[in-house]
């Protein structure tokens, strides 16, 4: 029955994504009026900077300065939380985050990663709200860059929009209304939302139990919708107050997948080609479904060592919650890495090796829909590389949507593509051989390799989920993961924005008989294989040392 549920979820996802994709296009192109007064109020508050059009360089400058401001102010709040209001969240004596931890946290939330080297229970409500602000802003900041890229691909132009106007439209028309609706749905399904501080219970066995609470429904709504993924509490969506029932579980999965899926159809709208959107969405959906099947299969296979040694059933429940069931835990783990959300409803570190390994692969590929905007940029980056590769194979000039792909474009796309594996593999290699990194490993051996690879992959992909056994709150990991998150986010975005600037100036060549069409299913499959081959060639050694080897050890150990 779980399989039927997953199929229904995928159908509902596509059913909502198609019209929502159109809605996003309308919102960003100023065709929506229903929140006009709020939009105008915000634009007036920002001032003259929100008027007029910007070239890609001007757009990037505004973008990067806004990101820096958001990050620094959040850093300050995390450092100053003992002196700020709303301290009820953590009792009377909250402590400030240290400089490196606060750096890691602020970077993590502005880059849409939400990697957490702290546990949510240690923050005041004020600090949590400051992070929630970034949960609104960071997905919008990703989304606007993708929109700029779309604009550059269609039509010949010098300017690509106005950063502040795009940002305000994203918040006002997309994130704010959708998060409000989502929060009310979650409230109706039993999530708490209070500023009353912890409750004290006198349990039936005569103990005192402190139950931490907070504005959880408001947080979870935007956490999921914005593919943020940071947990209000340490256990994230495994925590029963964050995700109390199978209903909230599937809705939280839907929330995190909806906008990034829609964005493919928004692209189709910009490109004036519904077929192009369906081809890209279709092949990505196949990859996503295959991933769900692998994780589900691995979890059903379970842990034969426990069966072999102890005689209990092999179906591992370590780190899982009963109410979510195996099927929807598999779906969650796949969705949270496909969409680079990073929230978890089970502890990834304790899942069977392949059930933790496939999510790792999805973060390495970074193109299975992906996070807000960033995912779509990666998809288009691979489309450009595919156009180039396919063009070489059949001997045609590579072009995409009538724009010629030339030396500058392919160079920038390749730079954007190479950042990801370098950011993952280089620091992983260092951390595994030096005790400064290796001493943080909880599960030694093959599994420990996966813990470290997973951490840097999660940071580079701006995902935020973790093999949480790894102790990340050390100066080394706070700094290194922080830097990987920053470079992973901004360097690839800069390359893609420069690519957009270069494409925007090109005139559109009308399609002829000789044009290599990109809106066909055969192109879609070639694209998928390019993604898989590049991913496999780059990451197979790391995957085979980690999850694949551990799976073989586990399967072999069953007969002991």
């Amino acid at each position: 029955m779980a399989i039927l549920g997953i199929a229904l979820y995928l159908a509902v996802l596509i059913g909502i994504a198609v019209p929502l994709g159109v809605y996003i296009h309308q919102a960003l192109e100023g065709k929506l009026r229903w929140l006009g007064p709020l939009e105008r109020l915000l634009l007036r508050a920002i001032g003259p900077a929100s008027d007029g059009e910007q070239t890609w360089r001007q757009y990037w400058r505004s973008f990067i300065i806004f990101n820096a401001v958001g990050m620094l102010l959040t850093y300050a709040i995390l450092r100053l939380q003992p002196y700020l209001p709303l301290r009820e969240g953590v009792g009377l004596h909250p402590s400030a985050q240290g400089p490196l931890l606060a750096f890691n946290t602020a970077v993590s939330f502005i880059t849409n990663t939400n990697w957490q080297n702290y546990s949510g229970e240690t923050l005041t409500y004020f600090a949590q709200l400051a992070l929630m602000v970034l949960q609104f802003l960071s997905p919008a900041l990703g989304l606007v860059i993708a929109i700029v890229f779309f604009r550059a691909l269609v039509g010949r132009r010098e300017t690509l929009g106005n950063f502040f106007r795009d940002l305000v439209r994203c918040i006002v028309y997309i994130f704010l209304p959708l998060a409000t609706i989502a929060a009310v749905v979650l409230l109706a399904l039993g999530l708490p939302d209070t500023f009353a501080g912890p409750a004290i219970a006198h349990t039936l066995s005569g103990a005192l139990q402190q139950i931490d609470r907070g504005p959880i429904a408001a947080w979870v709504a935007i956490e999921q919708l914005g593919t943020n993924g940071g947990g209000f509490f340490n256990a994230n969506a495994a925590d029963p107050l964050i995700n109390p029932s199978p209903a909230t579980n599937i809705i939280e999965i839907l929330l995190m997948s909806i906008l990034s899926t829609s964005l493919v159809f928004t692209f189709g709208r910009y490109a004036k080609s519904r077929k192009q959107a369906w081809v890209l969405a279709g092949v990505t959906l196949c990859l996503y479904a295959a991933g769900i099947a692998v994780v589900y299969g691995a979890m059903e296979y379970g842990n034969p060592i426990l069966h072999g040694v102890l005689g209990i059933s092999a179906k591992s429940m370590e780190g899982l919650e009963v109410r979510n069931g195996v099927g929807d835990t598999a779906l969650y783990a796949t969705a949270t890495t496909a969409y680079t959300t990073g929230s978890v409803n089970a502890m990834m570190d304790s899942l069977p090796p392949l059930a933790g390994g496939l999510p790792l692969l999805f973060m390495m590929l970074n193109t299975v829909f992906g996070g807000k905007g960033a995912g779509m940029l990666n998809i288009l980056m691979f489309v450009i590389i595919t156009v180039f590769v396919a063009g070489l194979m059949v001997g045609r000039t590579p072009e995409f949507l009538g724009k010629k792909i030339e030396r500058r474009e392919i160079t920038l796309a390749t730079v954007a593509m190479l950042i990801h594996p370098i950011l993952i593999l280089a620091p992983t290699a260092f951390s595994l051989v030096h005790k400064i990194g290796a001493s943080s490993i909880l599960n030694t051996g093959l599994h420990g390799i996966t813990e470290v690879v997973y951490a840097f992959t999660s940071a580079a992909a701006n995902n935020g989920s973790a093999f949480a056994g790894l102790n990340g709150n050390t100066p080394f990991y706070n700094l290194s993961l922080g830097l990987v998150m920053l470079i992973g986010r901004y360097l690839s975005m800069a390359a893609m924005l420069a690519l957009a600037g270069s494409l925007a100036r090109k005139r559109i060549i009308p399609a002829t008989e000789g044009t290599l069409r990109t809106d066909t299913w055969s192109f879609g499959w070639v694209y998928l294989f390019v993604v898989l081959i590049v991913g496999a060639l780059t990451f197979f050694p790391a995957l085979s040392l980690g999850p694949i080897a551990e799976h073989l050890v586990m399967a072999g150990g069953a007969g002991r």
């Binding site: 915000l42 001032g47 910007q54 998060a179 599937i250 899982l320 599960n443």
Partner: protein
């Protein structure tokens, strides 16, 4: 536009957007929560004789054979710490995992239950350390122990378990579970004749 102009616009933009997203949005959701869903919005607390005895969603830990037990908890510094949720994070091939499960299992094998009959969720730690549910099989396997300690007919307890078993949502989502706190509260009422 100069860097200074961008900076000034960014600061103003951050402040108004923070007021909107962190302030007004969270106040509106809080207002709806307290206005329409006040029982669940405050943590689904269960009150008995004027005293909060727990939350419907939070496992609290049980000792002795007269209660149904929940899943093992790995929260620190004490188990079932609802102020610091968390898991063991032990990997599948870690010998420490086998040790942990073996320890938890001995509690049931000492009562004469075969290891093969103990469902994994009862002896393997949950993700949050606060999982309020156990599988129906995990409740049923405890029936003989509780029945003996309480001098109650097992059939009556099995009926109780069946009554408190929550099915998968729409028959498709999640897995059936028994809320341990609600089951034990019902057990308490059964004994006191209430």
């Amino acid at each position: 536009m100069s860097v200074a102009a961008n900076l000034w616009a960014s600061v103003r933009g951050y402040v108004v957007l923070a007021l909107l997203c962190g302030g007004i949005y969270s106040l509106v959701v809080w207002g709806v929560a307290q206005g329409f869903f006040s029982a669940t919005a405050n943590g689904s607390l269960i009150v008995q004789h004027g005293q909060v005895i727990g939350s419907r969603w939070i496992e609290q830990g049980w000792s002795g054979p007269e209660w149904f037990h929940g899943r093992p908890s790995a929260t620190t510094p004490t188990p079932y710490n609802a102020a610091n949720s968390g898991a063991t994070n032990l990997g599948p091939t870690n010998p420490a995992l086998i040790k942990e499960v073996e320890d938890n299992l001995s509690q049931y094998t000492h009562e004469g239950i075969a290891a093969a009959d103990v469902p994994p969720d009862l002896v393997e730690s949950s993700g949050s350390g606060l999982d309020p549910f156990i599988s129906p099989a995990s409740a049923l396997v405890q029936v003989p122990i509780v029945a003996q300690a309480r001098h109650l007919p097992p059939a009556q307890l099995r009926a109780l378990v069946a009554r408190y078993t929550q099915k998968a949502w729409l028959g498709m989502y999640g897995a059936p579970g028994v809320n341990v706190l609600q089951l034990n509260l019902a057990l308490g009422r059964l004994v006191s004749g209430g």
